[in-house]
Subunit: 494 residues, 2 copies
């Protein structure tokens, strides 16, 4: 049949025709395991009772409020008041005061004033000025050295900030960035997307996942020898997925290495309040260490530090808030950072407000302080207890060994899989650790992420699990894991 | 002096060493004019009384709440309740009910339940399922044809969505994307960043900024003749900065053009409720037009449509919320879209909640409906009045002519600058329209954006101004503009 309409044609956008760098991106934290867990959850929600469990336990991602962690009350009170300023009107205030403490009311007024009365407007692209000033005060108090609001950019979470900086640094396919292995896969994903070389350095499992400057040097020189223009070093401290907290002397060595080798230091410090051995392994910021180095190091090493409202005892993941601070970055480069922030208009104001609250929480003389203190201390103590219990459980499991979490929200146990399990994995067309984790999900409803998603030494197998399930469920959670593991090992033992 | 510390070296990151594509990005909406306006505002805030004005009027950006537009009360009531769910507890509810209407309470409960009780958790990377279902219902009702939650991605504003899709489409430097001239500079900025060819087509100022398919074809064939792999066509409807609202027949021609030429249609429809001539120029979505085309067009043209909470009568810019809907996109490509969304974890939940409220506002039987209706109708009527007043004012100014705003939030008048003004601009090292706009800012405190930031036919000069200043200030605003313009023309008239 003749027709003026042309014959059907294939799609313009196909798997083959799209940006090939997107095809190469991998992000295991919400990858195969997480997608399968979602499908199982949907089946449970629809009343399917044929599964071996009655709920999914998402240990694949550091998402505390998904697992019943309560938000900090004061933060949410202030957030609610800024959303609906009519509550602060003369007419409604007497009723509002029955529901909200005086310091929440005062703080909401302060934040509204700093946003020109309108949190519904685009803010300054760098973030609301007074909030950046509060961040600078927080950094200055933390480090004992000055910080400036001009050097701080508020962001929609730390991930958005990391991507902005990576995009700036990567000028072409010859550029490389040093990343830890194991690493949080945002880094490999971003390097794949912007087509740069990951230059891996290994964290030392036998020495509490520490960094070794000789290894850094060896990795750097190998890459440079191959013609890679290595420009930056990523450090996650406290570590993700590894949980280590770096010592001051180790950090100093690293800063000197960056100076010697002309590397921009990208310090992912989103877990800076999640450290569980404050006496032996306290957190130090790289900004503080850098500023305590002698000149010219202190004034020359280019440093960008990232922080977030998603972690710590705050756990406000859904809100997408964070900031980065630039130290020793060229002013002309800072102008380009500003320009790119302006294309994106502004980070969401609700996230900015939570940054403000995180860096300037209630003080001892404030009415909300006792409740704030109790909530923060309670979450912290519980995280530490859960970290220790899960750590102990992993070390009691056959063929499993695990460093303690000095910090962050994860454990990264190593598992020795029997040859029959390796063979079964191969037959199923899976990596051995993927195979193990899929079996765990099927047997228990617990979703963890295989070590291959983070990187691991060849021939070793790991997985990452958060220790975020609610404490009341921890006995069952641990019993389920142990039972699954024992049955798995029994099945595949030679 | 000998030292073990190496000699100081230059920065790793300099203007010359960073990503060259970032250097090339231009974004006038928050560029030179906006930065200068900010500096002037800071001077005013600090008490400087030497300026010719006492306040800055930001007409550079569609940011209604910055210019005193009030948020929709019901939306903010629900947002506040979701922030602080304790207000919904049995104990506090009797007090809460004195401050919040029953439907706001019910809706907050519904949203909290759909977020698993925890708006502080990362949501599904594509956005909360029930919110996507509400978006699908909204689209189906708007267009009279079905929509699916699976095809919808919630985003942190439309800009974030556009960037995601552009990144997907641009597979290499040979790729081109057709964009209108004048255009919203997000598009040229994004093409510069991802290193693709802008393939311009001109909107016809003499015919109400309409589209002409012959021009589209000519532009496309010229680009393809040069070896550019043109893959997509961007349409902003209602137009930004031009304000036109496309006719149904024009849209149908464009859809057929996309089918014939195998172009993905990217429809920026963020101003879909800002149309001011509903009888002669109603808004039609491209989804509706596409679905009303005969097969195979209706089932083959790949379409992505963008919407936002920042515009319309909602105006919630600071919150960063929006969505895009994919039509006829290959399922394998959709998987890649999901993967990239998952790397970014999730769009901020507060923005998602506002999308939910925008697409599912109070209904006539709800207690909040009368107030909601009054607020929306009031904002709409006022926007239309302001658009007409400013349009008339521009057309009364010497050498100035301006199409009416059929839609959106902007006027884009053409100005004929006298030769002496062109010479003065050249001497100042500025584009003539930049020169004019800078003078306007200095004389009046009104910040508008030069036409060069959006693109314009060579030898013509324009500027974009929102018509968002508060109605109470409109007399002064217009008088200031007219006085400045007359003095400028008097000064430079030959």
């Amino acid at each position: 049949m003749l027709s003026s309409t042309p014959a059907p044609k294939g799609k313009v956008l196909t798997y083959e025709s799209i940006n090939p760098r997107i095809r190469e991106v991998q992000y295991a934290v919400r990858g195969e395991l997480a997608i399968k867990a979602e499908e199982l959850k949907l089946r449970l929600d629809k009343g399917d009772r044929t599964l071996a469990f009655d709920r999914i336990v998402n240990c694949n991602i550091g998402n505390p409020q998904q697992l019943q962690q309560k938000p900090i009350t004061f933060f949410r009170q202030v957030a609610a008041l800024t959303e609906y300023p009519d509550l602060l009107s003369e007419e409604q205030l007497p009723i509002t005061q029955q529901l909200f403490p005086a310091d929440a009311v005062a703080r909401a007024r302060e934040i509204l004033a700093s946003a020109g009365g309108a949190i519904g407007a685009y803010s300054h692209s760098q973030g609301i000025r007074s909030i950046r000033e509060h961040v600078a005060d927080f950094i200055a108090a933390r480090d004992g050295s000055p910080a400036s609001a001009d050097d701080i950019y508020l962001t929609a979470g730390a991930s958005a900030g990391v991507q902005q900086l990576m995009q700036l640094i990567i000028s072409g396919p010859e550029v490389g960035v040093m990343i830890p292995i194991p690493q949080y896969p945002l880094y490999t994903a971003t390097l794949a997307l912007y087509q740069a070389h990951p230059v891996p350095y290994y964290l030392d499992e036998a020495h509490a996942w520490g960094m070794n400057v000789q290894d850094l040097e060896a990795s750097l020189h190998t890459a440079r020898g191959r013609g890679v223009d290595v420009r930056a070093l990523v450090i996650i401290n406290p570590g993700n997925p590894t949980g280590q907290c770096l010592s001051e002397s180790n950090m100093r060595e690293v800063v000197e290495f960056c100076h010697r080798e002309r590397l921009v230091l990208l310090a992912d410090e989103v877990y800076q309040t999640n450290f569980y051995e404050p006496d032996t392994r306290p957190f130090h910021s790289f900004k503080k260490i850098l500023r305590s180095c002698p000149a010219p190091v202190r004034d020359e090493v280019e440093l960008v530090s990232f922080h977030s409202i998603s972690k710590g005892m705050v756990g406000e993941c859904g809100r997408r808030g964070g900031y980065f601070e630039c130290t020793n970055i060229d002013p002309e480069v800072m102008k380009q950072v500003y320009k790119m922030a302006s294309v994106n208009l502004c980070p969401n104001v609700q996230g900015q407000i939570l940054v403000d609250l995180m860096v300037k929480p209630p003080q001892p003389s404030d009415p909300s302080y006792p409740q704030y203190r109790t909530e923060v201390d309670g979450i912290f103590a519980s995280l530490r207890r859960r970290s220790r219990r899960l750590h102990q459980a992993f070390n009691e499991m056959e063929g499993c060994s695990c460093n303690p979490a000095e910090g962050a929200m994860y454990l990264f146990p190593s598992i020795q899989l029997p040859p029959k399990a390796l063979a079964a994995a191969e037959e199923a067309g899976k990596n051995p650790d993927d195979f193990y984790c899929l079996r765990m999900l099927d047997a228990t409803g617990v979703c963890v992420i295989p070590g291959s998603g983070f990187g691991q030494k060849e021939g070793t197998y790991h997985f990452r699990s958060t220790f975020l399930p609610p404490e009341a469920l921890f006995d069952t959670f641990i019993a389920d894991l142990k039972k699954f593991h024992q049955e798995f090992m029994d099945k595949y033992r030679s």
